[in-house]
């Protein structure tokens, strides 16, 4: 009996002193959302577009026989346009060339105190404008851009320029137009005469910028051991944020609970030791009907690779 006991003890001791068997590498999981808009955004309330007319009545515009025609045409076209705008449309008229003298001056605002009872009355003022001085169209546009930026919502402003595109006072018309476009305004150049359209106009589009339409934030997830009997409390194996980062998870059958609205249950899927399971979910709750799709793929883990995404 004693011999047996000592034999068992020796065997146990030997077993305890042996190196443990190598552990199977855990599985890894990454979950990534390819999102659409968080929801279908409400459409902004319609508002009347503000119209800013910039009329070139500089003395240089009127120079020469063709200039007379261009000047009269610019003034007539501007007056016609102002006259035809509904009185409910917010409107301001800026005229370039009203300040007497030879130096290049800024544009002047017609009817600054807004006393004209109607657009027709303002149109009558436009129709009687007479050139008195000089001014740079580019500078006038740049100044107008500053006014719009200070005054509220350039995205709801439309600038209408009546000119022969003369450049006696210099300034970079392309840059000025680009600044206005980037601020969100629309521009209509009504060109009177035969001046060539600046080539840059063809390349000018408003800068792309991230619009007020946020996509979904990555939701939280939980990976739980798969249990066919749902009455038991699920065993949570891992949890995190579905931002594509890799996460070690004990191998075995699991299900993934994704905190979307409504929640998504992915699986069951079997995580094998030494593999990476990459789950990708497309989520477009704002589409009609909403779209939610997912796929997963499993690849062997590369030994020595970190757990960074």
């Amino acid at each position: 009996m004693r011999a047996l006991r000592s034999g068992l003890l020796a065997a146990l001791f030997a077993t305890a002193c042996q190196a443990p068997p190598p552990l199977a590498p855990p599985a890894e999981v990454s979950i990534e959302i390819l999102p659409g808009l968080a929801t279908r955004e409400p459409i902004p309330a319609p508002e009347s577009e503000r119209v800013e007319v910039l009329l070139d009545v500089t003395t240089s515009l009127r120079a020469g026989p063709a200039g007379v025609t261009n000047f009269l045409a610019a003034r007539t076209a501007a007056a016609r346009f102002v006259h035809s705008l509904p009185d409910s449309t917010p409107l301001r008229v800026h005229a370039l060339g009203l300040t007497p003298g030879r130096s290049c001056e800024s544009a002047s605002l017609l009817d600054p105190r807004q006393r004209a009872p109607s657009h027709a009355a303002l149109a009558a003022q436009v129709a009687s404008l007479v050139p008195a001085g000089e001014g740079s169209l580019a500078v006038a546009l740049a100044e107008l851009r500053s006014v719009l930026a200070e005054g509220g919502d350039p995205e709801r402003s439309r600038v209408v320029v009546f000119s022969d595109l003369g450049s006696e006072c210099g300034g970079d018309l392309c840059t000025a137009a680009e600044l206005l476009l980037d601020a969100g305004a629309r521009i209509d150049f009504v060109v009177l005469g035969d001046a060539a359209t600046p080539a840059c106009f063809g390349a000018l589009v408003p800068a792309d910028r991230w619009q007020h339409a946020p996509v979904l934030d990555p939701p939280d997830y939980r990976i739980v051991a798969y249990d066919p009997s749902p009455e038991r409390e699920p065993l949570v194996l891992a949890e995190g944020r579905a931002d594509g980062r890799r996460q070690p998870v004990p191998s075995g059958p699991v299900t993934i609970q994704l905190g979307l609205d409504p929640p998504a249950l992915i699986g069951p899927l079997v995580l094998s030791p030494g593999t990476l399971t990459r789950v990708r979910v497309i989520e477009f709750p704002g589409l009609d009907p909403p779209v939610r799709e997912w796929i997963w793929a499993t690849v062997p883990l590369v030994l020595g690779a970190g757990v960074a995404p």
Binding site: L34, L37, R40, E41, I43, P44, A45, P65, A66, V68, T69, N70, L72, A73, R75, T76, A77, A79, R80, F81, S84, L85, A127, S128, E155, R156, L181, G184, R186, I187, D188, F189, V190, V191, L192, G193, D194, A196, T197, P198, A199, F201, G202, A203, L204, V205, P206, A207, D208, R209, Q211, P214, V215, I282, F284, G286, L287, V291, E293, I295
Partner: protein, 277 residues
């Protein structure tokens, strides 16, 4: 009504057409087609090799198109941006292309100027914006000051009378030809475009000296080069590009939106010019 197609649409069209001519292996991606926060990086396109990313691009394009429709009458610039974003995801989306062009926020109008002894009132226009293209009538006689009470808004007296009707039509006819050629390239009617270019070239040559026509000539040669490349005539395209360089030695294409073939031909034309010197 004289409607000269605005240069903005024409050049954007050309750029997009040039981009569409690029080989399929090279994504036709505009400079601003980068992923917004939260979107997959790099921004997928509908022909992405990864089916899930391709699927996402299709759904995102659908979502943005709907957004653009919603915004069209409320914030047109935002709608224009959304259509351009759809083109980032699906460069072959013809509707998005048409809408992006239609909603270009910079427009050029060139109404005809009509000088008539007695002006007649213009027909009322229901669309105030369309009226920007309607001919402008000026009531004026060769020996008289502007007429009053003619139905148009009255012009003050004292304006100098015209010596003769002045209608500088040649240049805008050339511009119209160029715009037409660009539209023909856009519609893949390359041979027709080259015929139109030929007409415009002849008209440009016929203009009297003294006017700077560089911008017109550049536009003409670029349209011609695009059409020649698309028709498979690389040598002719290179000749056009050589003329471009002669007009503007520092000319460069936007590498993000221009077909690699055009880029290579421009490089070749530049190298030839360098060697010739």
């Amino acid at each position: 009504m004289i409607a000269v197609a605005d240069a903005g649409s024409a050049v954007l069209r050309c750029c997009l057409v040039a981009a569409l001519l690029a080989p399929a292996s090279l994504p036709a991606r505009a400079r601003d087609c980068v992923a917004w926060p939260g979107e997959p990086r790099p921004l997928p396109q509908v022909d992405d090799r990864d089916p899930l990313r391709a699927r996402w691009a299709g759904l995102r394009a659908q979502e943005l198109a709907r957004r653009a429709e919603d915004l069209e009458t409320v914030v047109p610039v935002a709608a224009h941006r959304a259509w351009r974003r759809v083109l980032c995801l699906d460069p072959a989306d013809e509707r998005a292309l048409a809408e992006a062009l239609r909603s270009l926020p910079l427009r050029v109008h060139r109404p005809e100027i009509r000088i008539e002894p007695e002006a007649t009132p213009a027909a009322p226009d229901t669309d105030v914006w369309a009226s920007l293209d309607v001919p402008v009538q000026i009531a004026m006689r060769a020996d008289a000051s502007p007429s009053r009470g003619s139905g148009l808004l009255s012009l003050p007296g004292g304006e100098p009378a015209l010596e003769a009707p002045v209608r500088a039509e040649s240049l805008w006819r050339i511009e119209r030809s160029l715009a037409a050629a660009e539209a023909q390239v856009d519609a893949a009617r390359f041979e027709e475009a080259l015929e139109t270019v030929s007409t415009a070239r002849a008209a440009l040559e016929a203009l009297p000296p003294g006017r700077d026509l560089t911008a017109h000539r550049l536009r003409l040669e670029l349209v011609a080069a695009t059409a020649e490349v698309a028709s498979g005539r690389s040598d002719d395209a290179r000749a056009c590009l050589a003329r471009v360089l002669a007009l503007e030695p520092g000319f460069v294409f936007d590498a993000h939106t221009t077909s690699p073939k055009l880029l290579r031909l421009l490089d070749a034309a530049r190298a030839e010019q360098g060697a010739a010197r």
